[in-house]
């Protein structure tokens, strides 16, 4: 964070924060790599924003250490860390024009007038605000204010850019556009981005890694596909998207994975089951299951009846009930859903052995 123009590498070591008796963050250790796009994901009150504020230096941790490029910055005040920061609601200076807002961090750093002019002009062009230089924030749309906030946070080439739910105030189409733009800015600047959101699809779409928080604890960190396909626990699995939970009995290790009984049929799973023996939960994403008229003996499948459907345009979400009463949701092509519903009788739900993962029964 101290050398401008170079992405920072951050190490959090056993960080904790209590507000009175409330434990906002508990024993968090996390390495943030140089130039990575890390998303802190979790419901509100999960500790993700507290961690971001600790990174920025606005909140002092109750315990633990924070390092930037190997230097202990735990006690360094925010103004000396100079991480770029984009706030929820943007926090632009209302009495300054677009240009003045963006020039602010450069003026603070006592750059020459010529350099300020160059760099402000360059970044205004890059974020697409040309022609709005003299306007006040109140005269801009939400998306434009967002761009000013991004430009202001990036113009002094900070080692890390911290973003606190920057898109929460934007409508959906603008959100998508700004997400793409932010991804591009990340590639162009090469700076380390730390992004806070409670929107799982945003997290999966943008990040190189996702860190999932709940109740002040860091539950899992990994690439989007890792956390989505192999969540560490039930909370992560459910938070990242819709998922079906099927009880499996008598789980034991087998060739290339594990095997067990699901609704009295043998099912095979490629996932490892070292820690899990006996009864477990098999979790499968709706898009990993298909509907078939029948299932062969060595294919994973259970019988179910379609009860309702939701047309989503590109696909249909079909709700089914299995013979033993479990509720399952699948995402299938529209005509398959129509056929399954019109039959009114039993269909087979099938899934490949590579898909799905085992979670301890009833536990987290």
């Amino acid at each position: 964070m101290q050398q401008p123009g170079r992405a920072a590498e951050i190490k959090a070591n056993g960080i904790g924060k209590s507000f009175g008796s409330f434990r906002a963050l508990d024993n968090l250790s996390l390495d943030i790599g140089r130039g990575e796009f890390l998303t802190l994901l979790g419901p509100s009150g999960s500790g993700k924003t507290t961690f971001l504020m600790i990174l920025a230096g606005f909140v002092q941790p109750s315990e633990g250490k924070l390092f930037s490029d190997g230097v202990d910055i735990t006690n360094r005040p925010a103004e000396q860390r100079a991480a770029g920061m984009v706030f929820q609601g943007y926090a632009l200076f209302p009495h300054m024009s677009v240009e003045q807002n963006i020039a602010f961090p450069l003026k603070v750093r006592k750059k020459s007038a010529a350099e300020i002019k160059n760099r402000v002009g360059e970044i205004i062009e890059r974020v697409g605000l040309k022609g709005h230089e003299k306007k006040l924030p109140a005269q801009l749309s939400g998306g434009q204010q967002q761009r000013v906030a991004l430009a202001r946070a990036l113009v002094f080439e900070p080692g890390v850019l911290l973003l606190d739910e920057p898109f929460s105030a934007l409508d959906k189409s603008l959100r998508g556009q700004m997400q793409a733009e932010m991804k591009r800015l990340h590639q162009e600047t090469g700076t380390t981005f730390v992004f806070v959101t409670h929107d799982q699809s945003e997290a999966l779409a943008l990040s190189s890694r996702v860190a999932i928080f709940n109740h002040g604890k860091l539950l899992q960190v990994g690439r989007p596909d890792e956390v989505y396909d192999r969540p560490a626990n039930r909370f992560v699995a459910e938070f990242l998207g819709e998922i079906n939970m099927l009880p499996v009995k008598g789980v034991r290790p087998a060739d290339n994975g594990a095997t067990g009984l699901c609704e009295d049929r043998a099912v095979n799973m490629r996932c490892k089951a070292e820690a899990i023996k006996g009864d477990a939960i098999l979790a499968i994403r709706p898009e990993d299951m298909s509907i078939a008229p029948e299932a062969s003996v060595n294919q994973n499948g259970i019988a179910a009846t379609a009860v309702a459907s939701t047309y989503l345009g590109a696909a249909t979400k079909l709700d089914l009930t299995t013979r033993q009463g479990a509720k399952v949701t699948v995402s299938v092509p529209n005509e398959v859903a129509a056929a399954a519903l019109s039959k009114g009788n039993s269909v087979w739900l099938t899934w490949p052995a590579e898909k799905g993962f085992l979670l301890p029964d009833g536990g987290q």
């Binding site: 920025a56 230096g57 606005f58 005040p77 925010a78 103004e79 000396q80 860390r81 100079a82 991480a83 770029g84 920061m85 706030f87 929820q88 609601g89 926090a91 632009l92 200076f93 209302p94 009495h95 602010f104 961090p105 603070v108 750093r109 202001r152 946070a153 002094f156 911290l162």
Partner: protein, 277 residues
């Protein structure tokens, strides 16, 4: 029946007694004063002409404007510092600041003026103390001059200057200040380049209120000025009660009211009335 009166009508009805009172006790008598200014001692614009040519009246006007300007700067500056502590200080600081702001309201303006005499006079607390520690040999002239008037008036007006500032500071988005610090700005720089400009409407409101109040001060300058620093209200009093010259006194009053009215109009162009509470 509920809901038959709109909020507006309801508010107007509630305000009506006050309005009626103001018309009977203030506007109507004032029209009488206006009449005097054109009719005494002889009908015509004679008094307004005198006002423009009378050296004494002009020097009092200029002194009044000067004192009001200095008092405004002193009061708003002091009030700003107090308000920062009141709005943004630690819980203990807030209670202390609130106490300091509210207590003066419970003490009459007369008592306060005499209190300052006791502090500032030649044999008052300040001069006695400064002499006893050998800092000065002759007492300083702190009262019965403009300095005493400015001290007394500022002391009276600071609490009034606080409220518009407090309202501006309370409505300020905390995150903007965090953003400034996060961008590398020191606390002092953030205060001057972000905090102060963002409370501009409060400063304008506070300054105009203080200035308008200052123009009409009577008791404080009469006591602390000791007759040597006469301000406009005291001049009106002298013209009406001592050197019976009702026409001139009335003309000065009219000019003062018109001037204050213009300043109030200016005030409400910059500040919404609710920001002053």
């Amino acid at each position: 029946m509920r809901g038959t009166l709109s909020d507006r009508t309801g508010a107007a009805l509630l305000m009506a007694p006050l309005l009626l009172f103001l018309i009977l006790a203030y506007a109507w008598p004032f029209l009488g004063v206006v009449k005097w200014s054109f009719t005494l001692p002889t009908p015509g614009l004679g008094q307004y002409h005198a006002l423009l040519t009378d050296g004494l009246v002009q020097s009092v006007f200029i002194r009044t404007l000067r004192i009001a300007a200095i008092v405004t700067v002193v009061s708003v500056t002091a009030a700003y510092a107090i308000t920062v502590v009141w709005v943004r200080g630690s819980p203990v600081q807030r209670v202390l600041a609130e106490f300091c702001i509210l207590v003066p309201f419970w003490i009459s303006v007369l008592t306060r003026a005499f209190g300052w005499v006791a502090l500032l006079s030649n044999r008052g607390l300040i001069n006695t103390w400064l002499q006893s520690i050998g800092f000065i040999s002759e007492p300083l002239t702190l009262v019965r001059n403009e300095f005493g008037v400015i001290v007394g008036m500022s002391h009276f007006l600071i609490p009034f200057a606080v409220f518009p500032l407090a309202s501006a500071m309370r409505s300020l988005d905390e995150r903007v200040l965090l953003a400034a610090r996060g961008l590398g700005s020191s606390r002092i720089r953030t205060f001057w380049t972000v905090f102060v400009p963002m409370t501009r409407s409060g400063i304008i409101g506070s300054a105009l209120i203080t200035f308008v109040f200052s123009l009409g001060f009577f008791v404080t300058p009469a006591i602390l000025g000791g007759g040597r620093s006469v301000m406009i209200a005291e001049l009106i009093y002298l013209r009406i009660f001592q050197s019976p010259d009702w026409g001139l006194g009335a003309a000065i009053s009219v000019v003062l009211v018109v001037f204050v009215g213009a300043l109030m109009a200016l005030l409400f162009r910059y500040v919404k009335p609710k920001q002053l509470a």
